[in-house]
């Protein structure tokens, strides 16, 4: 994993001191609330319904045990003993006090962490594949590129006051686990015909009010050109993006208006005029890459006798292995997902105790690495198959053994009306109700892979547009109304879900989901997932059963 050198460490300390000073100037009135607002946002501090909310950056979702343990300490000392892992592969604390925030930032700096650009109209924390460095099919570790972008985008003098937030995601596999097609810029590490690794660059994807799938800006970009190319892409956006209406200010709107050809032409013109010095970037790439060298894996047989035996002996463990364990590049190792979606829990929440357990398990069994996923789960990327049973037993002691990764109860939900002052409806309780309805493991197994995503308002933080089933909570004349979309998808076959029809009340929405799932079970052909059935039979079949009773 990347470790700060003296320059990174000094930078983060200075940033923390700078924020302390900004808070002081706000308290004395030197800064108005209007002026302070973007300054606090670009350091992750929101004003929520009940209190401030602090969102920390976890670059490309990767952490060491020590860092997770620090988050537990912060949760206990400054929050109410828990934290909330988000779809941005970050963590948020919902109850910090403004006066404590500078101290929290200092604590973070102690373990090479920060809250830089986890919010605000600037380049946000870069996200990536949670299986990076462990996935069998990856071309190169995408975290190297993620770290290049983290550094380049940190307090970028030109791009701190963009028209709107700006999100970049990096993936290095054909199977897209980083949702690159729904980011402002999506970067896929690919090989050209000569076999060199480089980047395919997508632009203009995004969710929110106007969901769009990203378009190809450049089929192949040499690696050393990445940062100047990003500079050119951002500059065109900064100069020409709309500023008069915040709902039309994202890059996707500009790309849509100009057309991808014109946008690309402007980027290429800008790029051609830049001074590139590729050697320096290549040096830096090599320097960072050294931190991501393959860890010291132990030689082991691909099959583990112990793993096989324990699966036979313990059905609970077997279910967890089936759903939460993924193949690893190294023989004898596996990637394990810790689900933060226990039935009845709030999606993505973890208590301080659970965080400490995850830290300890990572240190003992995953080469000290943890990842946060955009599905609000935690990944242990390097677990020896022989140790999986022990890992599972330890996780179980804190209720972290839900065997539901990618299943109907692995629901993504934004904070909604419970915490968010923009919300028009509840989302966490809707997730809880649905999870309880399908709690029976046999039922979940019957349904198979299915992603339900819930947002509490049109801003779509719960990514409902890319849920196989998406639920959007609106306010219809003071009453919550839930609109359902079908067929959304975040991977390499990304699609925006289609609206199925009129909304449902809070009391009706769980029943509506049940009807949709029954329809799928009736219609499916052998081996088909929900998404496959939907893509084959289309919206109408679902619509008919859903509104038949009405």
């Amino acid at each position: 994993m990347y470790r700060y050198d003296e320059f990174d460490a000094a930078f983060v300390r200075e940033r923390s001191a700078q924020f302390r000073d900004q808070v002081q100037r706000r308290l004395t009135g030197a800064l108005t609330e209007e002026e302070f607002r973007p300054l606090r946002l670009m350091n992750g501090l929101y004003l929520q319904l009940h209190a401030y909310m602090l969102r920390l950056a976890i670059p490309y979702g990767a952490m060491r045990g020590e860092q997770m343990r620090h988050l537990a300490m912060i949760a206990e000392r400054y929050d109410r003993g828990y934290g909330h892992f988000t779809t941005r592969q970050n963590i948020q604390f919902n109850w910090p006090k403004l006066k404590d925030v500078p101290d929290i930032l200092d604590h973070l700096a102690d373990v090479e962490m920060h809250a830089i650009q986890s919010s605000g109209n600037c380049i946000r924390n870069t996200t990536s594949d949670p299986y990076a460095g462990a996935a069998p099919d990856e071309i190169e570790d995408p975290r190297i590129t993620g770290e290049m972008i983290r550094q380049w985008s940190s307090l970028h003098p030109e791009f701190m006051f963009l028209g709107r937030k700006f999100k970049i995601a990096v993936s290095a596999t054909e199977e897209d686990r980083a949702a690159i097609k729904v980011h402002d810029i999506g970067i896929q590490i690919v090989r050209n015909e000569a076999g060199e690794a480089g980047y395919k660059v997508l632009v203009g994807g995004g969710l929110g009010r106007t969901p769009m799938i990203g378009k190809v800006l450049r089929e192949f970009l040499p690696k050393a050109d990445l940062l100047p190319y990003l500079e050119a892409t951002l500059r065109v956006y900064n100069l020409f993006g709309r500023r008069d209406n915040k709902y039309k200010a994202r890059i996707k709107i500009l790309v849509h208006k100009l057309g991808i050809e014109e946008y690309a032409a402007r980027v290429e013109e800008e790029f051609a005029s830049l001074d590139k010095s590729p050697e320096l970037d290549a040096d830096e790439y090599r320097r960072i890459a050294a931190y991501f060298a393959l860890p010291a894996f132990k030689a082991a047989a691909e099959e583990s006798v112990l793993l096989e035996r324990m699966q036979r002996e313990d059905a609970g463990f077997a279910a967890w292995v089936k759903r939460n364990v993924h193949p690893h590049r190294q023989p004898g190792y596996a990637i394990a997902t810790i689900s933060l979606k226990p039935i009845g829990g709030a999606p993505g929440d973890a208590t301080a105790e659970q965080m400490r357990l995850m830290a300890a398990v990572a240190e003992a069994h995953s080469l000290d690495e943890l990842r946060v996923t955009h599905e609000q789960n935690i990944v242990l990327p390097h677990v020896r198959k022989d140790e999986l049973y022990l890992v599972w037993s330890k996780l179980k002691s804190q209720g972290l053994d839900a065997p539901n990764k990618g299943m109907v109860t692995d629901i993504i939900a934004c904070p909604g009306l419970d915490y968010c002052n923009l919300a028009t409806a509840r989302s966490i309780p809707v997730a809880q109700n649905i999870a309880e309805t399908f709690a029976d493991p046999a039922m979940q197994e019957k349904i198979g892979p299915l992603s339900i995503k819930i947002s509490g308002c049109i801003n779509a933080c719960g990514h409902h547009h890319i849920g196989h089933i998406g639920i959007l909570g609106l306010d219809k004349a003071g009453v919550e109304s839930y609109q359902i979309t079908l067929g959304g998808e975040s991977t390499e076959t990304a699609a925006i879900g289609e609206r199925v029809g009129p909304g449902f009340s809070y009391g009706e929405v769980t029943g509506a989901i049940e009807t949709l799932i029954e329809t799928y079970l009736d219609q499916r052909e052998t081996g088909e997932t929900f998404l496959q059935t939907y893509r084959r039979v289309g919206l109408t079949a679902f619509k008919e059963t859903l509104y038949a009773a009405a």
Partner: protein, 170 residues
């Protein structure tokens, strides 16, 4: 309005005039002691001529004037509207060597970014500068001593520093 640069408050030797006929598609800022007629402007010494541009100006319309003006003022209608940062950067990249001013309610925390994007001075309105004494600007300018971006003037550059450290080790 109060004007300042790296040395603190400075005297503003420019006077804003408003011309009926603009020289180019943007309005002319000012220059002292000239009458308000377009054709005379071109006969002025370049050092006496400057203009003010909106932050959505077409850069290419400004370039032909680079050699003939001593000052360009870029409008920041709000401190949160960051188009001016890219504009300053482009003006410099396209060869403008005169003085570059940010005019509008920019705040002390933006000063270092403005300098890095090629601006020399800022002219915030009284309502902003009254709340932000000189010490705030000085402190904010020094808050971050080294940055990651190549090719932006300002604080020292981390990538260059790393390279220098590598060279010493070799």
């Amino acid at each position: 309005m109060p004007l300042r640069d790296d040395d603190g408050p400075i005297e503003d030797r420019w006077t804003r005039v408003s011309l009926g006929e603009a020289l180019v598609e943007f309005s002319i800022l000012e220059f002292s002691g000239v009458d308000e007629r377009g054709e005379e402007i071109e006969t002025r010494k370049p050092s006496a001529l400057g203009f003010h541009v909106a932050n959505d100006v077409d850069v290419h319309t400004v370039v032909p004037w680079f050699e003939r003006v001593a000052l360009i003022s870029v409008d920041f209608p709000s401190f949160a509207d960051g188009r001016g940062f890219s504009l300053g950067r482009k003006f410099r990249a396209m060869g403008f060597r005169g003085r570059l001013r940010a005019t509008g309610p920019v705040i002390a925390d933006q000063y270092a970014y403005l300098r890095a994007c090629g601006f020399d001075e800022v002219e915030p309105p009284e309502r902003v500068s009254n709340r932000q004494p000189e010490a705030h600007w000085k402190a904010a300018a020094k808050a971050i001593t080294a940055g990651y971006q190549r090719g932006y003037p300002g604080p020292s550059n981390i990538l260059e520093a790393r390279r220098a450290a590598r060279d010493i080790r070799r």
